[in-house]
């Protein structure tokens, strides 16, 4: 793979990575959200593979493979299980409507470029220049988790944040060390499992209601 081609590929994957996050804000159907999240996982895997090719490291390829399995395979599979347990899962009334959300997404992306300056300044490589994309996805994840009412939307918000942090790790440093990556992936898979079980318990305890109705505990 020539340098120029790998750089173009990297930019393509980063662009689509950000685009899928914006798409999550745009769509309300939960099945569409899960598809977008799967696509985002694939883009993240793509980024990891391009960087692994560049470093010619077997360890990096192994990490990329693992990321692909986890983010485009295991996590979407668990989310589909949540969806089966909790039918009628459509975001009915987000706190912020779709067009306002998209404007907020543009604003947050600008903020991300400002916040990521120290990371971009660190190295002159093309991959370091793409780190704001990761930060932007983190911010979009926050926005989603804060403004959506359904349990599954909040899970997707948490996953967006996680994908964003993983992208920053790949783009800024070529990926965290293998041992840390293993631990982080195990934590993520278990956290999604825990959230899946809690979602069904929430459904049992509260019925098909919005999280807004969680008002048992307050001072």
């Amino acid at each position: 793979m020539s340098d120029q081609f790998s750089e173009q590929l990297l930019n393509l994957f980063c662009g689509l990575f950000l685009l899928t996050a914006v798409g999550v804000l745009w769509r309300r159907e939960v099945s569409a959200l899960i598809t977008l999240l799967t696509a985002q996982g694939l883009m993240l895997t793509g980024i990891a593979v391009v960087l692994a090719t560049r470093h010619r490291s077997a360890e990096a390829f192994a990490i990329a493979l693992g990321i692909g399995l986890l983010k485009a395979g295991v996590v979407p599979w668990m989310l589909r299980r949540v969806r089966r347990q909790v039918p009628a899962a459509r975001e009915t009334r987000p706190l912020v409507n779709v067009s306002a959300s998209l404007i907020a997404a543009a604003g947050l992306t600008l903020v991300a470029y400002a916040a990521a300056k120290p990371l971009v300044a660190l190295a002159p490589s093309a991959s370091a220049h793409a780190t704001p994309v990761g930060i932007a996805v983190v911010l979009l994840g926050f926005f989603l988790a804060a403004t959506r009412q359904r349990a599954i939307s909040q899970i997707i918000g948490v996953l967006l944040i996680d994908n964003g942090v993983a992208a920053v790790a790949f783009l800024a440093t070529g990926g965290v060390p293998l041992i840390v990556e293993l631990g982080v992936s195990a934590d993520l898979a278990l956290a999604v499992l825990v959230l899946q079980i809690l979602t069904s318990r929430l459904h049992q305890a509260f019925g098909p209601t919005d999280l807004d109705e969680l008002r048992e505990l307050r001072d």
Binding site: L122, I135, A145, V165, L198, L202, L217
Partner: protein, 495 residues
């Protein structure tokens, strides 16, 4: 050889106990759990005698004085919590007992791993794992309240800790750019030795993210929203562990990062952020304690108050304040875990979590009332308990560092919290006994075996011993004094 064993045991023993809890009868498994907790304590004590000069390092695991201090805190609180869990578990069903025993042991193992990890990435992994294993402990009772608390807990802490991971990635990027490579580049011992090359702008970004992220897990305001819910809904011995040590373990992560960032960008930035978090926590706790109606929530807000004080001492950053912070971590761990365990007994005895429903405890259940009352006295920071000494130390450290005004504001807020807690606890202990105004809750009705029986008396004995240690530490530190000094020096100055 002994050192290797002592480094491995604090994490390995609870994991082994968790495996055994899958197969053994629950009583035996609970006793094995107590043994695992004692092993953590013993590991800490053995390491303490060996690491005063040089830290002990074995691969990814490293122990210096700060680590061993934290291991002693975890071990001591875990011993109290696991011992009083036996009485707690008796009325539960077989499945619930087993799940409880397995998860609490995994929880202990994760906390030991967090303080033993040299690699900051693994420190993060261990802290995130505590959220996962405690989620079902918080949601143990499966009522609407506890499911809601568990949901908030997992979502807020996962998001918070993800921010901390972004901070970790920034530190790693800075370290790699400065010539580090592989897993070594994230080792705390490597980073504190190579602070010169780290990019200050990036470290500043990381500092904010780390404080926000681990601050969420440490229960500092304004990221504390999950804490009162989770701590009031979890089974009492789990609340004791979460309040007594988990918050401090998260704060320990902040201390480790502070040693690095102070060397790169100076202490001023971290100090301001910590002071804001500390004063906000103290204010939130003081305000919400005044009209508190639930005694477990009262204890949870008291934890926010104490974490605020700990953050304040860490912000001052002088040796005296840092030693007081670490002593406060131990004293608060002991007193708060006793208070939570006793509150669990009050809940099973009276069947109501409301302060107003518990009156005249001193007359009806004198030994339980005495345990709860004395633990509250300790938490209020009265002598002879060690919290008095450590609060005094933090205040003196603040004046020494030239922050007299901040100390004055903080202690005014603490005075409000003091008055609120004292009023609530006095009412519970001495108020006129009334017939229970609240109907017993579903499944949690009064149980005659609340304080009677062999197991009940034995576990109250353990709690009394915990309080005795907290009182002893207030007047005499003994061999711990050297360890405390070295640990405080590490937290202040890196090496």
């Amino acid at each position: 050889m002994t050192t290797t064993l002592a480094l491995a045991a604090p994490a390995a023993a609870p994991l082994l106990a968790a495996l055994l809890a899958l197969v053994l009868p629950w009583r035996t498994a609970a006793v094995v759990g107590v043994a695992a907790a004692v092993t953590i304590l013993a590991g800490g004590v053995i390491l303490a005698t060996r690491v005063t000069g040089e830290p002990a390092v074995r691969g990814l695991v490293r122990a210096d004085a700060l680590t061993t201090w934290m291991l002693i805190v975890i071990g001591a609180v875990a011993t109290l919590a696991t011992a009083s869990a036996i009485a707690y578990l008796r009325p539960e069903s077989a499945v619930e007992r087993r799940r409880y025993l397995v998860l609490t042991q995994l929880f202990l193992g994760c906390m030991s791993m967090a303080v033993l990890a040299d690699n900051l990435g693994l420190l993060w992994v261990a802290i995130e794992a505590t959220t996962i294993v405690t989620a079902f402990l918080v949601g143990h009772r499966r009522t609407r309240e506890s499911v809601e608390a568990a949901w908030k807990y997992v979502v807020l802490c996962s998001v918070g800790v993800a921010i901390a991971f972004l901070g970790t990635v920034c530190i790693y990027a800075a370290s790699v750019a400065a010539g580090g490579s592989g897993a070594t580049a994230l080792n705390w011992s490597y980073l504190t030795g190579h602070t010169a090359g780290l990019d200050p702008a990036l470290v500043r970004l990381a500092t904010g993210l780390i404080l926000l992220g681990f601050g969420t897990k440490a229960g500092l305001a304004p990221m504390h929203a999950w804490l009162p819910d989770a701590h009031s809904q979890a089974p009492a011995p789990v609340s004791a562990l979460m309040s007594g040590v988990l918050l401090s373990v998260a704060f320990y992560a902040i201390l480790r990062y502070k040693a690095i960032t102070d060397a790169v960008i100076g202490p001023a930035y971290t100090r301001i952020l910590l002071i804001i978090g500390a004063l906000a926590s103290l204010a939130v706790a003081a305000i919400l304690l005044i009209a508190q109606r639930d005694y477990k929530r009262m204890l949870a807000y008291s934890s926010i108050e104490h974490m605020g004080l700990i953050a304040l001492g860490a912000a001052f950053g002088v040796q005296l304040a840092m030693a007081a912070v670490l002593l406060h971590v131990l004293g608060h761990g002991l007193a708060k875990s006793v208070a939570f365990c006793a509150s669990g007994r009050i809940l099973t005895t009276t069947g109501s979590p409301a302060i107003a429903a518990v009156r005249g405890m001193a007359a009806r259940h004198p030994s339980l009332a005495a345990t709860f009352g004395v633990s509250a006295v300790a938490l209020l920071g009265l002598p002879p308990f060690s919290l008095f000494a450590s609060e005094l130390g933090i205040a003196r450290g603040g004046f020494a560092a030239g922050h007299g005004w901040i100390v004055a504001v903080a202690f005014t807020l603490m005075l409000i919290a003091f008055a609120a807690i004292a009023r609530h606890v006095l009412g519970m202990l001495l108020g006129p006994p009334t017939p229970p105004a609240f109907p017993p809750e579903e499944g949690g009705g009064p149980r005659p075996d609340g304080t009677s029986g062999k197991g009940g008396a034995a576990s109250l004995g353990v709690l009394a011993a915990g309080l005795a240690v907290a009182a002893l530490l207030g007047v005499w530190l003994g061999p711990l004094a050297d360890l405390l000094d070295t640990a405080a020096a590490i937290a202040t100055g890196g090496r």
